[in-house]
């Protein structure tokens, strides 16, 4: 599994409790080996997933975000994934204008019984993110050496924010 040969990348998963989280559990119970990069956040329903969570993760430097819910029509709350599908599709289509590679975000449907499918999804998505490599940071590296300033501050040399004034 190539994903494990190199440094882990930061992949965040948002999974609905009833289907996909269960599917990931089923994959675990079946010992379906997967790359380890993914970290899963459990939410009650894909309808709870605000696309802005995904944006937040990407802005924070996540290299990939994977969302999974119940298959359409199978939502535990009847309609949650129908709303989710619209919201997530809009986000995915919107990302290109921001210059964020839309392949870094994917959404799909996995039921609680689809352990193998979950393994496939995770493996493929992780492979894709590794192909894309680490995401560029939205914030350019600051010229300010925060560490040095922090040291200065701890030595009682005034507030770092106003260092320039002092100088």
């Amino acid at each position: 599994m190539p994903a494990q040969d190199v440094r882990e990348l930061r992949i965040v998963g948002f999974l609905c409790n009833w289907c996909s989280y269960g599917g990931a559990d089923t994959a675990g119970v079946g010992r379906f080996t997967q790359p380890t990069d993914l970290r899963i956040i459990r939410v009650p329903c894909s309808g709870r997933i605000d696309p802005l969570f995904i944006v937040r993760a990407l802005m924070n430097g996540a290299d990939g975000v994977l969302v999974s819910g119940c298959h359409p029509r199978d939502c535990h709350y009847a309609e949650g994934n129908f709303y989710a599908r619209r919201r997530l599709e809009m986000l995915k289509r919107f990302l290109p204008i921001t210059g964020i590679d839309e392949r870094r975000f994917e959404y799909t449907w996995v039921s609680a019984s689809e352990g193998q499918r979950w393994q496939h999804v995770v493996t493929e998505f992780t492979r894709r993110i590794h192909e894309l490599g680490p995401a560029p940071s939205f914030n350019p590296k600051s010229d300010v050496d925060w560490n040095a300033l922090a040291v200065q501050a701890s030595q009682g040399q005034g507030c770092p924010c106003h260092g320039s004034i002092q100088a």
Binding site: T33, R39, C45, F53, N60, Y77, N139, N147
Partner: protein, 660 residues
Amino acid sequence: MRIGVFICHCGSNIAGTVDCPSVAATALTYPDVVFSTDTMYACSEPGQDAIIQAVKDKNLDGVVVASCTPRMHEQTFRRAVERAGLNRYMFEMANIREHVSWIGKTKDLNTGKAAELVRMAVEKLRRNRPLMAKRFETTKRVLVIGGGVAGIQAALDCADGGQEVVLVEREQSIGGKMAKLDKTFPTVDCSSCVLGPKMVDIAQHPNITLYTCAEVESVGGYVGNFQVTVRRKATHVDWTKCTGCGLCVEKCPSRKHPDPFNENLCNAPSINIPFPQAIPKKAAINASSCLMLTKGKCGLCAKVCPVKCIDFEQKDELVNVDVGAIVVATGYDLFDWHKYPQYGEGRYKDVITSLQYERLLSASGPTGGHIKRPSDGKEPKNVVFIQCVGSRDKSVNRPYCSGFCCMYTAKQAILTKDHIPDSQSYVFYMDIRSPGKLYDEFVRRAMEEYGAQYVRGRVAMIYPKGDKLVVRGADTLAGTQVEVPADLVVLAVGAESAKGAVQLGEKLRVAPDQYGFFVESHPKLKPVETNTAGVFLAGACQGPKDIPASVGQGSAAASKVLGLLSKAMLESDPAVSRVNPARCVGCGKCIQTCPFGAIKEIQDRFGNPKAEVIDTVCQGCGICTVTCPQGAIQLEHFTDNQILAEVNALCPPKMFANFE
């Protein structure tokens, strides 16, 4: 906050590929974590005791357990922290077994991942708050919608269990489809002999109020406290006086409208009692054909009625009923076989449905139990049965198996031979579906003892030749095309959802599937529950079912109702949405998207509109939270800040990158 972290080894299940002590050590560096340890089996009794002890010794106000999936043991540990004196929601779980140790091979990667999942749980827990369930009283009364055999069973069981029952039936009499059947498989006992006594019990049970010719108009409220309005349609007969003597039926001169009870095989008088065993045994007027109501002259029934109960002025009546639980038992309808043009679309009178055939077989039917074909009244010799008409057929959007057609067709083939000994039955089938006690034996008997000719193949067309109908089909086992000159063709029409089911589902907030059958909570483990608390399903409204399965579900639904209403008070799940009225601008978007009608508009004391969540109705999906642009409505236990804390724990904002 003082948080304790427990890293479970789960024997070697986790410890095999995760360095649990190292995870525990890392956890101690996380904010607010004051205690961290690894433990062999956190869920075991000693494991739970250790958690409780630690809460007390270390004065903890939150607990994180990293072990298996929360779907397995979240409840276990919640109860444990509760025993330790904490609120059950001051607990978080990190899944380091199914999501880590069982799927990753490399120990150091697994260990790192486990530590991060614990970090995520800690960050979430830091934003948790104690949540309290609400307790509320329930109305000790049950509404059963639908008076077929499933609804009858549910109503009787609930009534026998001591609950008041209101049974609402759309038709004039209860009994449903079963009342129309002649005999039942696989015992070939008389349908009305079996059902009749149960129908009488309904009429006589002191706990049951029966409304027939009635439909549910609206449903409000929630589990434990539903407010239902029932529309009782005008029958133009005062049923408090009507004795069911039948004199009016006898004298009615208008007999031009088809008789629905007899599946339109014959006509019925405009004032009628549908069948001798009808419950309630009361007459009702068909307003669309009654001469008095359509033309203003006749009134013969009113003249002959000995108790003067005819009331041409009668109007629909709305009745309000408060109930604590609802059983939906609205049954099914027959597939409209006219969608198959190759069967003649009704041009050939001797192509009939299986239920029409039941009426021909029935002694109380239009032919007095003699099989006479509709076109010329002759006794048929060659009878062809075609199965899967509207079942297992994608082209008519009915890909599912209706389940009972194979069995009733075998029964009808047997009865045909009983009625007409020199007859020959041909059954075109695709597969025989007969799993059930004595079912397959029964089908074999139709073939072996009664000589029904089973032909494996569909029928492509029916066309008339002389006074016969030529049925052209395939015998796929022989690989040939076959033709049968038939005297009568009986279509084993499949089941589809009852007319109006989708609309009723909307009132009840019970989702229908794509075919209009109601969706149960869980296909295996919650077959009679729905995703709307307090609403239960019985019988074929959930999917095609035969009589024993429907009766079984009627009883099952009743036991769920009795269990629910046996509690003095109900508790609601506190992980529901909550509105911050200060942030709410009253735009109503959350109300629009809530699938459960759990949000209502209220006015604050300045008269501004605000949203308010009905705790006991909210199911906790969180659609509203995403819908609200102000973040004014937050799903407790999954608030924006809680989930954002998890995101930030996993992806620390990049501004910290410089500190690496």
